[in-house]
């Protein structure tokens, strides 16, 4: 029952995830606002009132004080907005500006970058290598997101059915995975698959697969791609699984019971009851994972630098290579801008499809 449901892990609230209230019983509490960190019972007020002032009495006079009072929240937020604008918007705009200039090491050091209009974009869009990288990135994103969503859904469904101690063990495992620093985990994966001294080869050889003695995983493009998928899925499942678990706990158990009484099997319960209720959450998880996998850079760069033979060169890796290894900052910026645009197209297409179904199937 909803009132006995365990609270979603606190960090989900502060991450801005608002668990959908949809079909919750009235009185279960309002959905929390992002950033409020509260269970949401306080009425959100837009303006802080100066203490001891009754707004009704002030309405007709003292316009200046009232203006300041109304502007106060914006002033409080201003430092953060300026910081964000400087740290996020300025580099973004600068990158777009550079993509319209001729900008190599010389311009970086001596200055004097000339505007060349759309030449960089023409260069990038005209190169076959770019389109290969785009295709590869889409395949990369698709494979990873499908695996992440499927595995985390299964994990969440499993956690709901576990007893208290096992649930604690599984959730601790997930949280520890989530908490492992990204590059530490990446390094460990590198060691696992090392050709002579790695644990994976040793285990496979012990099990009798002698062909894996000294097998160079990172020499084969497909093997390396598979290892990277494994790493990314492993690192991404905890967040998705815990969020979906949180969503699953909001579904009233009566719905499942009545469906079972009606004779529905597990898959039918999922398709008919669970998924429709959690559709927004699934949509959110998938969108977030698409974004994060698409722009995944650190792990790929740390292990393969885009190799072997460009097998793991996705758009962010390609942009970095072109900009920092080949010192073609202008082309790198063009590729980055195109990456953002492609990602927007992918997301909009996905979201539209997701919400087209909103009307049907209820």
């Amino acid at each position: 029952m909803a009132s006995e449901a365990p609270q979603p892990p606190g960090n989900l609230l502060s991450a801005g995830i608002s668990v959908p209230s949809g079909r919750r019983r009235p009185g279960a509490g309002e959905p929390s606002h992002p950033g409020s960190g509260d269970a949401g019972s306080r009425h959100p007020s837009a303006a802080a009132r100066p203490s001891g002032v009754n707004p009704r009495r002030r309405r007709s006079g003292r316009g200046a004080a009232r203006t300041i009072a109304a502007a106060w929240p914006y002033l409080l937020v201003l430092p953060t907005v300026i910081g964000t604008a400087y740290l996020l918007f300025y580099p973004l705009l600068r990158s777009v500006v550079i993509s319209f200039q001729h900008f190599r090491t010389g311009e970086l050091i001596r200055g004097g970058a000339a505007f060349v209009g759309l030449e960089n974009y023409q260069d990038v869009l005209g190169s076959a290598e770019f389109w290969t990288v785009v295709r590869r990135t889409l395949v990369w994103t698709a494979v990873n997101v499908v695996l992440i969503v499927v595995i985390s859904t299964l994990t969440a469904l499993m956690i709901v059915r576990l007893g208290r101690r096992m649930r604690l063990a599984v959730m601790s495992g997930l949280v520890l995975t989530w908490a492992t620093p990204v590059l530490a985990a990446t390094t460990v994966f590198q060691w696992l698959f090392q050709s002579r001294l790695g644990v994976v080869n040793w285990a496979l050889v012990s099990l009798g697969f002698d062909s894996f003695d000294g097998f160079s995983w990172f020499a084969s493009g497909q093997a390396t791609f598979a290892i990277m998928v494994l790493l990314i899925v492993w690192q991404s499942v905890p967040f998705a699984a815990l969020t979906l678990y949180a969503g699953l706990t909001t579904i009233p158990a009566e719905l499942h019971e009545s469906a079972r009484i009606d004779g529905a099997g597990a898959w039918q319960i999922f398709r008919g009851v669970t998924f429709p209720m959690l559709r927004p959450l699934f949509g959110l998880i998938t969108s977030l994972e698409v974004i994060w996998v698409f722009k995944c850079f650190a792990q790929i760069w740390a292990i393969t630098k885009g190799g072997p033979d460009d097998a793991t060169t996705t758009l962010p890796v390609y942009a970095f290579q072109v900009a920092q290894s080949l010192h073609k900052y202008d082309l790198g910026s063009a590729i980055s801008t195109l990456t953002v645009l492609i990602l927007l197209v992918v997301l909009v297409a996905h979201l539209r499809r997701m919400y087209k179904h909103e009307g049907e199937g209820l």
């Binding site: 970086l108 072997p308 080949l326």
Partner: protein, 424 residues
Amino acid sequence: MRRLLAAAAVLTIAAGLTACSSSTETQGEGPGSAGGTASTKLTVWIMRDSISDALVQRFTSDYQSAHAGTTLDIQVQEWDGIGQKVTSALASNDAPDVIEVGNTQVAEYAASGGVKDLTDKTTDLGGADWLPGLAEPGKIDGKQYGIPWYAANRVVIYNKDLFEKAGVTAAPKTRDEWIDITTKLNKGGDQGIYLPGQNWYTLSGFIWDEGGDLAVNDGTTWKGGLDTPQALAGMDFYKKLQALGDGPRDSDEANPPQADVFAKGDVAQLISAPGGAVAIEKANPDLKDKLGFFPIPGKTADKPGAVFTGGSDLIIPEASKNQDAAYEVVKALAGEKFQTDMAKEMSYVPNRVSLAGVLSGSEGAAAMAIGAANGHATPNSPNWAAVEAKNVIKEYMTAALTGDAAAEAGKASQSIAEILNTKS
């Protein structure tokens, strides 16, 4: 709500204006400060493991007492990611005063316009005597930007005990002898030689021995050299040698650190600069007097194997605020006193041919000096650093060792040519 929109709009416009107006990088004009007025603080960047701490201390105290009013701040930098760090430093308003750069990277910095031209100081520094493998990369269009600092090249470090056990009495002088003794040593649980698959410096030496090169410039365009018959012969020899041990084919000499692997005591030979012996002895003190050295064998007994002349040059960024004082530091570091001290302590080849005799004391340094006579540099192009950064040769080597060398060589050569021919 309207107020918020207005504020956001203003901020976006402001950010946009700032972006457009700062498309010209201003860089600090830094004519050298008059020496000795106020206390000058000079920043010097040297690379990890270049010179020992004791040497740094000695140099700093000597220099500071000889030049009153100057303080030296010598900072150690890591090799990983140094390319971006130095590029950013050269582009900034606040660069260090002297930077040590690898001789394969100096051409790129020199061509960027961010480095001071020191052609007129060449005679003052004894330029006629410099090691070609260090002086050439630092020279672009006839102008000298990088000042040679030190060189080191590879030799073969061997385990005397394992050689005795296998009955090998003399160091090999030719490639055939080398393969013979390595096969003899590669028995029981011991490895004949630990050679990782991606040690491209060693491969370059074998290619140069065959008469090939990594890339050739016909005057206007670069052509990759890995698919020539000579280079393929070099790769073939590398493959034969690499198979006589347990070196991983998909990583280089740093993953895992080859000194640590050798230190375990079951590896008979290792290709490394003599400085590697220090790391081996540190990892396993039992091997202290058990290490021998011989130069990499060539094809015939009269000429040692070609080696890659690794080393460093010193540059002065244009953005440095104390260029004259920085020059004095460079002069001291490249001068005879420091070079002699450094060569003895670190087993490096000093930057002048005339000082090579300094090394006669140490076996490793002596072997290295023999090899240094046949030392070569990487193709002299500002874009060579990009070839290294994109790992072209390392990937080629792994592919060649696990598959068909000839096919992969074509791809790699094309990649090299494309990168080297990029116009900036």
